[in-house]
Amino acid sequence: MLEKAFEGGKKYWTWVFFLGALAVSGVYYYIQQFNYGLGLTGLSRDVSWGLYIGQFTFLVGVAASAVMLVIPHYLHDYKKFSKIVILGEFLAISAVTMCILFIFVDMGQPMRITNVVLHPTLNSVMFWDSVVLMGYLVLNLMIGWVTLSSDRKGVAPPKWIKPFIYLSVPWAVSIHTVTAFLYAGLPGRHFWLSAVMAARFLASAFAGGPALLIILALIVRKVTKFDPGKEPIQTLGVIVTYAMFANVFLLGLEFFTAFYSNIPGHMESFIYLYAGAHGHHELVPLMWTSSIFAAVSLLMLVIPKIRRNETTLSLACVMLFASLWIDKGFGLVIGGFVPNMMNQIRPYWPTRQESIITLGVWAIGLLILTFLYKIAVSVRERTAGIEIEH
């Protein structure tokens, strides 16, 4: 099936080369960073994680969100998802690959990456995170490939794949829970030291991932002959709405605990992020953009008329995705480091090189996604009209 990725029209290749060019510029700056060190980024001893780890965290959520298609389809026998469940699984593959790349570009000594395997450390959450992420990648590669090959041959997928599909459900939950534990178990970082962190991560993932899927499904319909169908997109829209409500609710809980308890350590990061502190307001516009986008997109999604119109639905999804990207891909990480452990404000802003490397990783992820979707769509176009029991 792989050859399908290399058969495409002029538009397809233009898109591929565009992403390729972005990826190459990312690699170019990464080589600079490799030679100079992470000093090329905006990071410091006070804010020691930034854009890279933020993207990693956000994308783990995107990867986990495939489960929002797998559960209805495989556990509840919701047949309408049979055509698009593969889009979710392939999105997960691309997202996990980006996660791994973001971890890699964030490492001070990337050539020593195998130390994590050579010296397995069971008390380190990072060790477990690498285990579950790798496992999730393998699971999705296997499930996606096996089910799609069966589809191509017009037969039902083999029985042995079923247990792996069921396993992928708790596994998806585990990748985001363990990622949340990277943050939620650290003494002294009050902003992260929250029992609802993992729940918040899952809620935002189950809103953001499917929102992205809706956008992707609409693009697929526009540029290919494969139509993911109206109804699955609407179902996804409902899932996004519920999950986003849960996410906003959980964020509200964080605010309540911080401000009703009135404990300075718990309030300070929120104040820095949303109002600024000691003359530093670097992140205030971003955080408010995120909040406004969240409120507006939620309002749009909750009104059935707006949600059912695919144009307005996609607009709401774009805003929602942007809102969550700012909140989780940036604010969440930086907020944990500002103020620092000495209660001083040392702001962080990514450098140009850091941003281009980030863009490059996204381009590589999108490139993988493009190839995978091209393969999936080619199979779907061929088998259009044939319904296969999964």
Binding site: G37, S44, S48, T114
Partner: protein
């Protein structure tokens, strides 16, 4: 039984994939034991030994700016700590922090600025339950079983900086760039670091091993930094901690810092 080339390559390939080969080769490695005792050559007879190294800081002994500078630079020159001249790349093992920063949220609005800004010497607390050790994915940072010092293996550190996120004292620094051009007078007795690894105070393990007190303790004003075995009932640090009012930074976090700050040391100590 003999194996042919093909079989050998198969086994070698699979076992190296699984990390078995390397695990077997590393004798120090045991994930089930919390502390690690690195094998070393027969220790020096003169080596200073303790079951729990700890430090008492008596700020009343630090009177002039020079007292601070001497203490800090003794450490930084001994350990080849670079000076980049900017906050972003900064590396420091021991430094000065105002009271309100060393002990956040312990000040009051009526406190005079003078008191709020009383300088305190801060460094790695060599915690009894170090969060940095708990999170490190490679055991590059570990707690030495014999004396409780939290150490760093610069050759194993992958530079993920999880330890920096975990340390509640901001005691850790990262080599954001090659530190070597920024070391003014290199001490050939102590290794320099490469870029991309985390470093911090080690309670001068290399000096203890040859019977010397930590560099900062030696350079500090008499009685300013008191170093000893907290597990030994007769040690000076133990006596001070037992009988005098001392505080520790963020002790409520359960990390069990081994650096104690003596309050009101002026009159007695």
């Amino acid at each position: 039984m003999s194996i042919d080339r093909r079989q050998f390559l198969k086994i070698a390939g699979i076992s190296s994939l699984l990390g078995i080969g390397a695990t077997a080769a590393s004798a120090t490695h045991n994930v089930w034991i919390k502390g690690i005792n690195p094998p070393q050559v027969e220790p020096e007879q003169a080596a200073l030994r303790a079951a729990h190294w700890a430090m008492v800081v008596d700020m009343s002994k630090f009177k002039t700016e020079e007292d601070f500078q001497k203490t800090i630079s003794a450490c930084h020159t001994t350990h080849n700590v670079p000076d980049f001249g900017n906050i972003k790349d900064e590396i420091k093992w021991i430094w000065k922090e105002a009271y309100e920063n060393a002990f956040p949220h312990q000040d009051s609005p009526y406190m005079e600025e003078k008191i709020r800004e009383i300088p305190f010497i801060v460094l790695c607390n060599h915690c009894e339950n170090p969060a940095c050790v708990r999170v490190c994915p490679t055991q590059a940072t570990f707690k030495r079983k014999s004396d409780g010092i939290v150490m760093m293996d610069m050759h194993r550190c992958i530079g993920c900086r999880f330890c920096m996120a975990a340390c509640p004292y901001g005691a850790r620094s990262f080599n954001y760039r090659d530190p070597r051009p920024f070391i003014k007078n290199e001490n050939k007795e102590y290794p320099t670091r490469t870029r991309g690894v985390v470093e911090k105070c080690t309670f001068c393990t290399e000096r203890l091993a040859v019977g010397k007190l930590p560099a900062c303790v030696e350079a500090a004003p008499q009685g300013g930094l008191i170093f000893g075995d907290l597990a030994d009932k007769n040690s000076e640090v133990r006596k001070i901690v037992e009988t005098r009012y001392t505080i520790r930074r963020k002790a409520d976090l359960g990390t069990g810092p081994s650096v104690y700050y003596l309050i009101g040391g002026m009159e007695h100590a």
